[in-house]
């Protein structure tokens, strides 16, 4: 027994040292790239859009790096490992969503905008109200997303470095390590953005996408090898060791749960599933940090190519998550996973440790593979938070400072300086908020960011591009209507109060029964955009003609 513990401790410390070394190598490489990128960053176009010099493939990789967050890598694998099939719903929603971006948004946005989402929204409107609304929405969505990632990073570090309650690491206990991680992640993202701008951030995301794909591919092959490449036997073993039988392979264990004898709750649960489904599929094309990626390529056709690559990369990755999740269920088992983390976020790293043990010679192999996957997880978080910080600081500088405060009179140099300062401020605010929220359950914030993007930003974007009559009032109503309704509904939902897994489990002001507001707030956002438009007399056919012609032909594109 004591021998076993000693072996485990030795393996644990090897993994810990290796994780830290690999992570530091990643940080060193990305910082070097960032410094190199900063030398190439001279104009505002360089800072905001990476000089529009990336190829379709490079941008496709960067989109993947920007999009595949820790929530999708660790989160989806964890949900599948613990709840089986239902985690797959996320993968599907997150992927199908890219068709909205491909067919309706990417190319038209690239042709008619410059640096931010608001460039397109404000194209034919009064600048100040629309840009203010767009900046508010961009910053809100990005901060929600940032908080979820940073708090997640803090929660992970203790688990990935194996800091158990009562033990310390470099003089820090688990709580101190959590805060140190949040500060470190925050500081790095600030450096990437302020120093490297879009160019540096893009390369960080490309490197991360490569590492994540390689790591996930390796694990997928190993999982399938255990089951002799027989998918059915993998699923069978996963179902058996989950203790839930075939139900583990069917929808309904986590979303749309049927509560026996409670028809009302069953109804709400099913509505909640539909709500989540619609928010996932419509949210992506309204996420500001994704939209600004389309500006980093020279033409609309390159933007199309980058989305095609992104669909290929992201789709392949989500297929891997299926093997990772079911593999963890079969090979690690839900008991061992929940013993580490109740939400299942450590399922993928634990699976890595198990695979390493089986394939690469016992504890050393186990520690090595665990370290690689843990370092990849941190790289994943870093690349995503950098993209979010860039999107919000770009909007603050380009939309709010240059076009609202300075009414378009700011010089390029001033604008970029303000963008750098904004990144610093947003980074500092996120660090503080994350430390404050570190012990709260904020995983729902990712789904909320998607819901806000789908309810406020997407209606405004689609109306702008396709509806001649749309005007300033409509744009402002759509953005605020969607944003406010989504946030208010979530505030009064069970994810914030009134339940055991709520953000505030000891309070109860909940009255809205669904965890995801999309089913109500998305139609409401579209409705507000329509109502605001028809209540205002403003109408500019000539500007719409310019927008429509430019968006479809690329004439006058930046």
């Amino acid at each position: 027994m004591s021998k076993l513990l000693a072996a485990e401790a030795a393996g644990g410390s090897t993994a810990r040292t290796l994780t830290i070394i690999l992570f530091l190598v990643f940080v060193a490489i990305t910082l070097a790239i960032t410094v190199w990128a900063s030398r190439q960053t001279k104009t505002a176009t360089d800072f905001y859009a990476g000089g529009r010099s990336f190829s379709g493939f490079q941008n496709g990789m960067a989109i993947g790096g920007d999009y595949m967050s820790a929530a999708s890598f660790l989160g989806i694998a964890g949900i599948i490992a613990l709840n089986g099939y239902d985690g797959f719903l996320y993968s599907i929603g997150f992927l199908v969503a890219w068709l909205v971006a491909l067919l309706l948004v990417a190319e038209l946005l690239r042709n008619s905008g410059r640096y931010t989402m608001a460039d397109v929204l404000a194209f034919r409107m009064r600048q100040r109200p629309v840009r203010t609304a767009a900046a508010v929405s961009t910053i809100t969505v990005s901060i929600f997303y940032l908080l979820a990632q940073m708090v997640g990073a803090g929660a992970l570090v203790a688990l990935l470095l194996g800091i158990k309650p009562g033990t310390t690491f470099m003089g820090m206990d688990a709580d101190a390590a959590k805060i140190a991680t949040i500060v470190l992640v925050g500081a790095l993202m600030i450096v990437y953005v302020t120093v490297g701008g879009m160019k540096g951030t893009t390369y960080v995301q490309i490197v991360k996408a490569f590492l994540l794909m390689t790591g996930a591919l390796l694990m997928t092959i190993l999982v399938l090898a255990v089951f002799r490449f027989n998918l059915s036997s993998l699923l069978g073993d996963a179902a058996q060791s989950s203790g839930k039988g075939e139900a583990f392979l069917e929808p309904g264990l986590r979303y749309g749960v049927e509560v026996a004898g409670n028809a009302t709750q069953t109804f709400y649960n099913k509505m909640d599933l539909l709500s989540l489904g619609i928010a996932l599929v419509l949210g992506t094309a309204g996420l500001p940090h994704i939209l600004i990626r389309f500006y980093t390529v020279p033409t609309a056709r390159a933007a199309r190519k980058s989305v095609l690559w992104a669909i290929g990369i992201i789709g392949t990755f989500y297929l891997f998550t299926l093997a990772l999740g079911f593999g963890a269920a079969a090979l690690v088992g839900s008991e061992a996973i929940t013993a580490q983390d109740r939400a299942g976020n450590t399922a993928a790293p634990q699976l890595a440790a198990e695979l390493g043990r089986r394939f690469f010679g016992g504890e050393i192999g186990s520690a090595t593979l665990l370290a690689i996957i843990a370092a990849v997880a941190f790289a994943t978080i870093l690349a995503v938070v950098a993209g979010l910080t860039l999107a919000s600081s770009s909007s603050l500088a380009h939309d709010f400072y240059a076009n609202v405060l300075k009414k378009g009179e700011a010089s390029e140099r001033q604008e970029v300086n303000v963008a750098r300062i904004s990144a610093l401020v947003i980074g500092a605010v996120s660090i503080l908020l994350s430390i404050f929220a570190q012990n709260l359950n904020v995983a729902f914030l990712v789904a909320l960011a998607f819901a806000v993007a789908a309810s406020g930003n997407l209606p405004a974007i689609l109306y702008s591009l396709f509806w001649k009559r749309f005007n300033t009032s409509g744009a402002v109503w759509a953005i605020y209507g969607g944003l406010i309704s989504a946030v208010v509904l979530v505030f009064f939902s069970p994810v914030v109060s009134g339940g055991a897994t709520s953000m505030f489990p000891d309070s109860d002001w909940q009255w809205f029964p669904l965890s995801n507001p999309g089913l109500i707030s998305i139609p409401f956002g579209f409705f507000c955009g329509w109502l605001g438009t028809v209540l205002s007399k403003e109408r500019d056919d000539a500007k719409y003609a310019e927008l429509e012609v430019r968006s479809l032909t690329g004439s006058g594109a930046h």
Binding site: Y85, F88, L89, S91, I92, G93, L95, V96, W98, L99, V100, L102, L103, L104, L231, S232, S233, L235, G236, A239, E246, A247, L249, E250, P251, G252, Y255, G256, E258, K270, L273, L274, G277, I278, V281, R301, R304, K305, V307, L308, I311, G312, G315, Y318, L319, D541, A542, K543, Y544, A545, E546, E548, V549, R550, L552, T553, G554, S555, G556
Partner: protein, 118 residues
């Protein structure tokens, strides 16, 4: 065009040019080629995806039918088909756009550049 031709229409502003272009039949063709593909395709994939989500919520018995005596069921096949359809639509769109939309857009783009540089 000659300098004389330009001088005869000195009042034409860029706005007028875009308005005229937007109302021209050739731009109408471009708009039709683009919208004629993306609108129906958006409706199609959305309905197909919604069907999947609704079946996951309300047709559990159907989704849990197993294929033969394997552990693969309808729910998994349906989910994987969403991947297949997404990849196919993306590929189909890129083929369609480069054949039917891009040439029209290029012609109009070139025309607009010509009038601008005069």
């Amino acid at each position: 065009m000659s300098t004389e031709a330009r001088d005869t229409a000195p009042t034409e502003t860029p706005e007028d040019r875009y308005l005229a272009m937007q109302r021209s039949p050739e731009f109408g063709n471009l708009r039709k080629a683009f919208r004629g593909f993306v609108f129906p395709m958006t409706v199609a994939f959305f309905v197909w995806y919604a069907l999947y989500v609704i079946l996951s919520a309300y047709a559990r018995d159907f989704m849990s039918i197993r294929i033969g005596d394997s552990h693969i069921n309808v729910a998994l096949i349906f989910g994987l088909l969403q991947f297949v359809s997404t990849f196919l639509i993306a590929w189909f769109y890129s083929r369609y756009a480069s054949r039917k939309v891009d040439p029209l857009a290029d012609t109009i783009h070139a025309e607009l550049e010509e009038t601008r540089s005069e």
